[in-house]
Chain length 226, copies 2
DNA sequence: AATTTTTACATTGTTGACAAAATACTGATA
DNA sequence: TATCAGTATTTTGTCAACAATGTAAAAATT
């Protein structure tokens, strides 16, 4: 029997704490390199140290927080870290695209094309926020459609770090102009069920990202920090 | 100043608990699907529930334990899970091989060739335990030599699951005959600094693994469980 | 003034207690 | 026998207290 009960059970505090702190990090509420304390976070969320502690441990495991000695700091990625992440993306996302081409439902294919259309409109109106949002949705849908649970799990980790870097490091830089055409080609290949094509288009797409980051790096090389 | 102090500080209990429980899982001390309780593990390790709880949370995050409702069970992978893992390996390990070819030190290259030699001897004497051990060392060294910290982190997760599955599922099946020749080709490419070659050899190597698993799957398809 | 030593403080590490929830058990009722 | 209600038990969720550790500040010594 399927429940239609209106009663919703609140998630355990440690789960909520994890989500909240992760969100704070992704939304740049904390600065890279900033030091955090369990008590500070606990007071902030209005709970005891226990649940916060579990959340912090997980975030350290994810790499969003870093433990130096006994203290905990917000991950402050170097450009090498950014490149490392993108190389992992280059390894995994083409696989996701290939699997998505094989497994994506009709309904999700419609959603994919819809995202493409909305991206197009957002570009026409130069609505930056939407452009970024639809970009994320595009990649997420492909990953989810891969049907590979392990891959989805790994990409979640990459995704969190990636988003974090986008918000904290790469935010000031304009997106590549031709990313939209690449998205169109990827989507076409997926809708046509051409796994090989989808895989190589996605690979090229991410390599272009990496090249862009490389040019950012060169233009910033004078500075010590990012 | 480098410390030569004989005083060793014990690791925090939650770190030890994590390592111990992970090790139990990898060494098949627990059966797949078995239910674990925090209190049971705590008694087993002689500590309170706190540290165990943190360790369990991490292991759930890693996917080695699974939470169904409130209860915690040992991961009981299906064949689909195994394939999913190996597809991720196919995405990441060729990248590791490519980077290793670019970055591996002279000293590590020597170690790599040494592993090859010892594998050869182990094969000649049919010492299965050593064969498996050297195989693991071979892949680990390449991953470590990639110099990509993110990649290493992800491969640690894959590796734990992979080892777990090897011990629990694939243990009864003979290893492919020609894996040694493939290792030799990979090692040659790395020592020659040929990243492209190393990448494609590694990809082929893992695809062969996947094919083998596929044949195992077919021959076992009658059974419900693994 | 510089360096060590001491002291105080802040923060993490760990535990045991209690509350809440889910599960398993028992017996009553149809 | 099957089903339900109520009870007991197990297990997780959360907290607050205390211990241990490391860090920073202050005092003392050279």
């Amino acid at each position: 029997m399927t429940s239609i009960s209106p009663i919703i059970k609140p998630e355990p505090l440690h789960v909520q704490a994890y989500k909240y702190i992760q969100n704070y990090l992704l939304e740049s509420e904390f600065s890279p390199g900033e030091r955090l304390t369990e008590l500070g976070l606990a007071d902030m969320l209005g709970v005891s140290r226990g649940p916060v502690r579990e959340a912090v441990r997980l975030l350290i495991h994810d790499g969003l927080l870093v433990q130096k000695g006994v203290h905990i700091y917000v991950f402050d990625p170097t450009f090498d870290d950014v490149i490392d992440i993108y190389l992992c993306k280059e390894g995994l996302e083409p696989l996701a695209a290939k699997l998505a081409a094989q497994n994506m439902t009709q309904s999700d294919q419609g959603t994919l094309l819809d995202i493409i259309n909305r991206t197009n409109k957002a570009l026409a109106h130069d609505e930056k926020r939407d452009i970024v949002k639809f970009n994320t949705e595009f990649h997420d849908l492909i990953i989810q459609s891969s049907g590979n649970t392990q891959l989805i799990q790994f990409m979640n980790l990459i995704h969190a770090k990636n988003l974090y870097m986008r918000n904290n490091i790469l935010s000031n830089y304009a997106r590549r102009d031709n990313f939209f055409e690449e998205h169109v080609r990827i989507a076409d290949a997926i809708v046509n069920g051409d796994g090989v094509q989808a895989e190589s288009e996605m690979k090229q797409h991410i390599q272009n990202d990496i090249n862009m980051i490389g040019t950012i790096f060169k233009s910033k090389q004078k500075d010590d920090s990012i």
